[in-house]
């Protein structure tokens, strides 16, 4: 025992992409009630890529939730798990998969907290069927701006709930989460993977697979041009029935840690091209089928504990957008052509299927396809993200804040017609905008608290103002 909210020394905090960094104190305690008082932001395992979990310039402290990881209740009949916000998905999988339950929606890593999953309203390979994580959340306990502790759910304080799910922690501190886990017939996955010659074939197969498979995902080679542009591997999966599954439970996978930063230039156009070609041809057979370990299926990258070190000290960013397909299925091709024209090298390019919008007002997915690409950060990254964002604005898509570190406020506003409604709810619950992050200063125009060394936002280089001013018709 000790006095709660122990002194926390200042250290450099960053997201998973390792840029930007902010010097701040991360308050850590088992008692979130104590450390969330008068603190502008909570942070979990820091797996959002950009600056969503970082304090704004001038804010010195964030509340770290990871030590608040107690399970408060579990009902085997309904599958509803209630726990403190710092409980990690890794623990949930370790404890509940052997009992026949799994998270209703899983991101690509287990190193996330419940609170983080709600704040980002994470989605997974099953979005076209099961929606986002927030759709399975039955209630939240929060500390709101006036200091009160408030419960909200889809029926109670519904506005607060809708603004918090996907709200990037900007409506208050998430203290407890109740979520309905999903029953699974076995802990193993049946998969079928298909090699596809180009992006048109890939997207067609992705949409087709979505009608019969609960989970679909795939990656494409975004370095290859011409008629093989966007060639890739589509992986379809479902939980194995008991009769199909191996009799033994899956052993936890061993992890490997990268002990130091690799040189910053290691991920470059040449290595990315080689890597993409190898991954494509590693899947030499046109179709593969089998039963696979759940961790290899859901969390292939978790085996390398700190794979972000591959990008060196300059760090990396992930750009993930969702693009509607109403205007035509060639949107993926045009996105990839833009990437090639900008000579952007991404070792991994993931294209997923997205279903209808969920309950969260700022939740990322909408009907269409989601494309995610990783880049090593360099002097051209801001211009690249600007160009991609202009494309996304024109197409009526949007970006995922949990990945974002470079999007400008004007672009985000142009992408997000729901923002006004979200902001109205935020004004009601937090009129002084006590909750803020470095990201909310950047994309929502929140004011940083103190006169700190903050770079003035540069003017976007193009016809952005015109785009932002034009109201777009939306079908969703």
């Amino acid at each position: 025992m000790r006095e709660p909210g122990s002194p926390a020394s200042t250290r450099l905090l960053s997201g998973w992409g390792r840029v930007p960094t902010v010097a701040a104190q991360e308050l850590l305690s088992e008692d979130l009630d104590v450390i969330t008082r008068d603190v502008p932001l909570s942070r979990g395992l820091g797996r959002s890529y950009g600056d969503a979990s970082l304090p704004a310039h001038g804010d010195k402290r964030v509340a770290g939730s990871v030590l608040a990881d107690r399970i408060l209740a579990f009902d085997p009949d309904s599958g509803i798990l209630r726990a403190e916000a710092g409980l990690s998905l890794r623990e949930i999988v370790r404890l509940f998969l052997p009992r026949g339950y799994f998270t209703p929606v899983s991101p690509g890593t287990q190193y996330v907290t419940l609170g983080g999953m709600v704040a980002a309203d994470i989605h997974g390979k099953n979005h076209h069927r099961d929606g986002c994580f927030g759709q399975h959340v039955t209630s939240l306990r929060m500390r709101v701006a006036d200091g009160r502790i408030v419960d909200c759910s889809p029926t109670k304080e519904r506005d607060l709930f809708r603004a918090t799910v996907g709200g990037m922690g900007l409506t208050g501190h998430i203290l407890e989460v109740a979520v309905r886990l999903k029953r699974v017939p076995s802990p193993w996955i049946v998969f079928e993977s298909v090699r596809l010659p180009n992006v048109e074939a890939y997207v067609a197969a992705l949409k087709e697979a979505g009608t019969s498979w609960p989970q679909t995902v795939g990656f494409i080679d975004c370095t290859k041009g011409g008629r093989h542009l966007g060639r890739g591997i589509l992986i379809k999966g479902r939980w194995a029935e008991r009769s199909e599954a191996p009799p033994q439970p899956p052993e936890p996978k061993r992890t490997v840690s990268i002990p130091f930063d690799l040189p910053s230039g290691l991920v470059n156009r040449l290595t990315v091209k080689i890597f993409n070609t190898l991954t494509y041809w590693k899947h030499f057979a046109l179709v593969r089928k089998g039963v696979i370990h759940p961790e290899s299926y859901f969390y292939p990258l978790d085996k390398l504990l700190n794979w972000n070190r591959f990008y060196g000290r300059r760090g990396m960013t992930q750009y993930q957008c969702v693009l509607p397909m109403e205007a035509g299925s060639d949107v993926a091709r045009r996105f990839l052509e833009l990437l090639r024209a900008r000579r952007a090298a991404s070792p991994v390019c993931v294209i997923k299927d997205c279903g209808p919008e969920g309950i969260g007002l700022l939740s990322f997915p909408r009907p269409g396809i989601s494309i995610a690409v990783d880049f090593a950060v360099n002097d051209g990254t801001q211009a690249l993200v600007d160009a991609l964002n202009e494309f996304v604005v024109r197409e009526g898509g949007r970006v995922y804040l949990a990945k974002d570190a470079f999007t400008r406020a004007a672009h985000f506003r142009a992408m997000e017609p729901r923002l006004a409604e979200w902001e109205a709810i935020r004004r009601r619950w937090d009129p002084e905008r006590k909750f803020r992050s470095r990201q909310s200063v950047r994309v929502l125009g929140d004011e940083a608290p103190a006169p700190g060394p903050r770079p003035a936002p540069a003017e976007p280089a193009s016809d952005l103002a015109a785009i932002a001013a034009t109201p777009r018709s939306r079908t969703a």
Partner: protein, 247 residues
């Protein structure tokens, strides 16, 4: 085993409780804040796949020795014969804070030494009355030698370690197995914000090592293990070196 755990809500005690329920041991929790202890009990029940309310709790504050008997009575009523009593509870503060706040320094000394020793007295009497058992107490490497960053905290832990050593000498023949745990730097809420030295441990690893020591009846266990060597060297250093060193 039937285990009573004082200090299960946080840090190494929390990890200890989780390991014990996952290994199917029966638990009864004691702690200062009964509502908080009850929350930990629910956590352990779900993790261990036990029915609701099967992990019992009672209030027990190291600053209030008059409550020890009631707390241990409740534990014996719930579990029957006790196999092990584990004490992880203690107060902590940096040397700077303790120097600035004599009132809190007094509270810490009272809880970490007087309170803990009196609790162990009550605990060992109950174990011996039923033919023996294990008394496992978390002391600290801070009690190994007077050191600048942990003068007051370390003094209480030094006294506690000596007491536990004597207890082992006197009662081991009668079936009391005393396990003195000496954690080095472990990454918990207690040490959050302090610069972590090399060989810093995780609470889950500590719990495994301590349970192994209980099962094998090892009288003293350093966790992580490297701290046995570190403290061996520190004990050998001459005074003029210790005066220079800030360790």
């Amino acid at each position: 085993m039937k285990v009573v755990l004082l200090g299960a809500t946080k840090g190494m005690g929390r990890a200890m409780g989780r390991l014990l329920v996952e290994r199917k041991h029966e638990l009864f929790l004691l702690g200062r804040d009964e509502a908080d202890v009850a929350r930990s009990a629910r956590d352990l029940e779900v993790r261990g796949g036990r029915p609701a309310n099967s992990v019992g709790v009672a209030a027990c504050d190291l600053a209030r020795p008059e409550g020890f008997a009631t707390a241990l009575d409740a534990a014996e009523r719930a579990l029957g014969k006790l196999d092990a009593i584990i004490v992880t509870a203690a107060l902590f503060a940096t040397q700077a804070r303790l120097e600035d706040d004599p009132a809190f320094a007094g509270e810490l000394l009272a809880a970490n030494f007087t309170g803990t020793v009196l609790f162990c007295e009550a605990a060992r009497k109950r174990l011996l009355a039923k033919g023996g058992g294990t008394l496992c107490v978390f002391s600290s490497v801070a009690g190994e030698r007077g050191r600048k960053p942990v003068i007051i905290y370390g003094a209480a832990k030094a006294g506690l370690s000596h007491y536990l050593e004597g207890l082992d000498h006197k009662f081991s023949a009668q079936g009391l197995r005393v396990v003195t745990v000496k954690p080095g730097f472990v990454k918990t809420g207690m040490t959050a914000g302090l610069p972590a030295p090399p060989f810093a441990g995780e609470p889950e690893g500590v719990a495994k090592a301590v349970l192994a020591a209980i099962e094998r009846g090892r009288p003293v266990v350093y966790v992580p293990g490297a701290w046995a060597l570190i403290m061996f060297v520190i004990r050998l250093l001459p005074r003029f070196v210790m005066r220079k060193l800030n360790f």
